[in-house]
């Protein structure tokens, strides 16, 4: 019990501490791939600290929704990330919420952020919110279909149980799992506002979604939102790692050595995930915003197909 609580707290801190590093790492690899030196790895931390020291400039028309949103977005994303087994299963709160609840928590964060985009009453905020909700209206069902596929196989919607099942011998190679993995990667790219759906590096393009929504934020509010975005990226990499590459996750009750080994393997997974993301982002061009629906529609169809295959193939 006490150990579970300690693991849980450790997990929450790991998620928070490594999230900016992952973002910085992806930026660094991307810069290297196009022949630039890129900012130092720790630049994201410096950015956050600098933002914390800055003054907040609020628009005259900003309401309390605008001011509480950064905290809610940060809290919901952090709690969602804390529910994903990163280096160990058997987390203290893992029974409080399953994979469906994690998707929904991210949905709550997005709901508030979209409202904050509309709050000041500018055209940029509106365009960001409007497009974000369009993307979410396809990405969220696609993600839930992936959850269904994995849950039907593992017989559980709890990520801890899923991770244990996926490590076990009963999994085998399955078409459904392959389809679900592709769908999940597509959703992760869209949800984290990466190329080809959105571009995290631009600020003034009309193609932008996430950056337009948070355009009015400054100072400590912006720091919270940036940190939440980093945590969200880490969360998706962790979910993919935990479900589709569950090797090395320490199971509850093993000794300290297992936990340390789990942590080391987890860092390797993050590095591999971040590297693949950077390669993918460099290799592909940004899409027109109305092509995004085709991209995510494909993810949704793959998810539905994966679920349907399981419904049909399993004999009662």
């Amino acid at each position: 019990m006490i150990l579970d609580l300690l693991v849980q707290l450790g997990e929450m801190m790991v998620v928070l501490l490594f999230a900016p590093l992952l973002t910085g790492y992806v930026r660094k690899v991307k810069a290297h791939l196009v022949g630039r030196r890129g900012p130092p790895l720790l630049q994201s931390y410096r950015d956050l600290l600098r933002l914390l020291r800055k003054e907040v400039v609020l628009a005259h028309s900003a309401s309390w929704v605008f001011r509480i949103t950064p905290y809610i977005v940060f809290a919901a994303t952090w709690v969602a990330a804390a529910l994903v087994p990163t280096f160990a299963t058997g987390l203290f709160v893992s029974y409080a919420a399953d994979m469906i609840a994690i998707v929904a928590l991210l949905g709550s964060a997005r709901f508030m952020l979209a409202l904050a985009g509309l709050d000041v009453g500018t055209s940029f905020g509106g365009i960001g919110s409007s497009r974000e909700m369009m993307i979410a209206s396809l990405a969220e069902p696609a993600m839930l279909m992936v959850v269904f596929t994995v849950a039907l196989l593992a017989g559980s919607t709890q990520l801890s149980s899923i991770a244990v099942f996926m490590q076990g011998p009963d999994v085998g190679l399955r078409v459904s799992l392959a389809l679900a993995l592709i769908a999940l990667v597509m959703v992760a790219i869209a949800e984290n506002a990466r190329i080809p759906v959105d571009n995290p590096a631009t600020h003034l393009e009309l193609t932008m979604v996430h950056e337009a929504m948070i355009l009015e934020y400054s100072g400590r509010h912006l720091a919270m939102i940036e940190l939440a975005s980093s945590v969200k990226l880490l969360l998706y990499v962790s979910v993919i790692g935990c479900v589709f590459a569950p090797w090395g996750i320490a199971v509850s009750g093993q000794g300290l050595a297992a936990y340390l080994a789990g942590l080391a393997v987890y860092l390797v997974k993050l590095a591999v995930g971040g590297f693949l993301l950077a390669v993918f982002e460099t290799a592909i061009a940004k899409m027109r915003v109305f092509r995004v629906s085709d991209f995510l529609g494909a993810a949704l169809m793959l998810g539905v197909l994966a679920t349907l295959l399981l419904f049909v193939s399993r004999v009662a």
């Binding site: 914390l52 020291r53 800055k54 003054e55 400039v57 628009a59 005259h60 028309s61 309401s63 929704v65 905290y71 809610i72 940060f74 809290a75 709690v79 709160v93 399953d98 469906i100 609840a101 929904a104 928590l105 949905g107 709550s108 709901f111 979209a114 409202l115 509309l118 000041v120 009453g121 500018t122 055209s123 940029f124 509106g126 919110s129 409007s130 497009r131 909700m133 369009m134 979410a136 209206s137 396809l138 969220e140 069902p141 839930l144 269904f148 849950a151 039907l152 017989g155 559980s156 919607t157 709890q158 355009l215 720091a223 919270m224 109305f290 629906s293 679920t307 349907l308 419904f311 009662a316």
Partner: protein
């Protein structure tokens, strides 16, 4: 299978109950806005959160609840429905095997679209800058209406974080209708809800709510201890070119345009037409959007036309002479009696 039936029925009944809570709350909110501004068109409102802060809070909670967002009640019933769907590969009927995952996908889609809908409803009505004087001069609604709305909002949160008690209250109904009911929820540790088995799925709204509040609190505490606390009010940034006219904000129509283009072209046969005047002509350009409700056009309208046609033809019977009426009554009597004889 009895357990699955009990779970599905519990999910449905709990959702009906939740729907009664948040839908009433949202209608009260709409009524408060209508009473305060005399306006039902969202495009002519905006910025009401500054004039009606308490109504806005209640409406926000209702919007989050209807969009199935945790920690509110809509999420719990949606979650239970998903758990019921995940049990259905064991169903013996093949038709249901195909139908249930499709329904699950549609439910996921509709939850996401509901969130988009209520971002629009709350965002355009309550946030932003007022679009008309009516919205600029709105006043907070009366205390009784506020109490009703806030009570519903509190119930939405309560049913979301303590769903076990509500599920237990539904147990007699599911027992009577399906011959089974979910395990008693209130004795479980920490008020977790477990529809089937602990290893399969569980949800604890109270703990989740507590953790969200705790993390937000930690975040706020760290910020207030270490970050700069200074803030200042200024004009909106808007990439350097803010326009003071409230007409430059996003409207309800423009907010839903991406979704209309993605889904509407198939479901509602949406079409957009842009009328641009020729160069040198100072008339404004016009954007026209046409939406067709296909089920209405193909299902209801033919029936309505048939009824209208029959009514038109029968209308002549209203203007007969007394002789004509007597003949009609006699003829009807003979016809009915003949039908009766043939019947027997």
């Amino acid at each position: 299978m009895m357990g699955a039936a009990a779970l599905a029925l519990t999910a449905a009944l709990f959702h009906v109950f939740n729907h009664a809570l948040f839908k009433s709350l949202l209608f009260f909110g709409a009524g408060a806005v209508l009473g305060s501004t005399g306006e039902r068109d969202m495009e002519r409102l905006g910025g009401l959160i500054h004039r009606m802060p308490r109504t806005a809070l209640a409406f926000l909670i209702g919007s989050a609840a209807i969009s199935a967002l945790p920690p509110f009640n809509g999420f719990v019933s949606e979650w239970l429905t998903f758990q019921a769907i995940l049990l259905s590969p064991a169903l013996p009927q093949w038709l249901l095997k195909f139908l249930v995952p499709a329904v699950g996908a549609l439910l996921a889609l509709s939850a996401a679209l509901a969130a988009a809908c209520f971002v629009k409803a709350f965002g355009i009505t309550f946030l932003g800058r007022p679009r008309t004087t009516l919205a600029r001069e709105a006043v907070e609604t009366d205390r009784w209406s506020l109490a009703a709305m806030l009570a519903f909002a509190a119930l939405c949160l309560l049913a979301g974080i303590l769903p076990g008690y509500f599920i237990d209250a539904l147990a007699p109904v599911t027992q009577a209708l399906t011959g089974a009911s979910l395990p008693r929820q209130e004795q479980l540790d920490w008020l977790t809800i477990v529809p089937i088995a602990q290893s399969r799925s569980s949800y604890n709204g109270l703990l989740l709510f507590f953790f969200i509040v705790l993390s937000a609190g930690i975040g706020a505490e760290v910020i207030h201890r270490f970050a700069s606390a200074s803030s200042r009010r200024s004009a909106a940034w808007d990439c350097g070119f803010p326009d003071p006219s409230p007409a430059t904000q996003y409207t309800a129509g423009s907010f839903s345009q991406p979704i209309r283009r993605v889904f509407g072209s198939v479901v509602f046969r949406a079409s957009e037409e842009v009328h641009l005047p020729p160069p040198g002509d100072a008339r404004p350009a016009r954007l026209q959007v046409r939406l067709r409700d296909v089920p209405w056009d193909t299902l209801y309208l033919p029936v309505a036309r048939l009824v209208g046609f029959a009514a038109d033809r029968l209308n002549r019977l209203q203007f007969l002479t007394i002789r004509g009426y007597l003949t009609l009554v006699f003829g009807a009597l003979v016809a009915l009696l003949m039908v009766l004889t043939v019947w027997q």
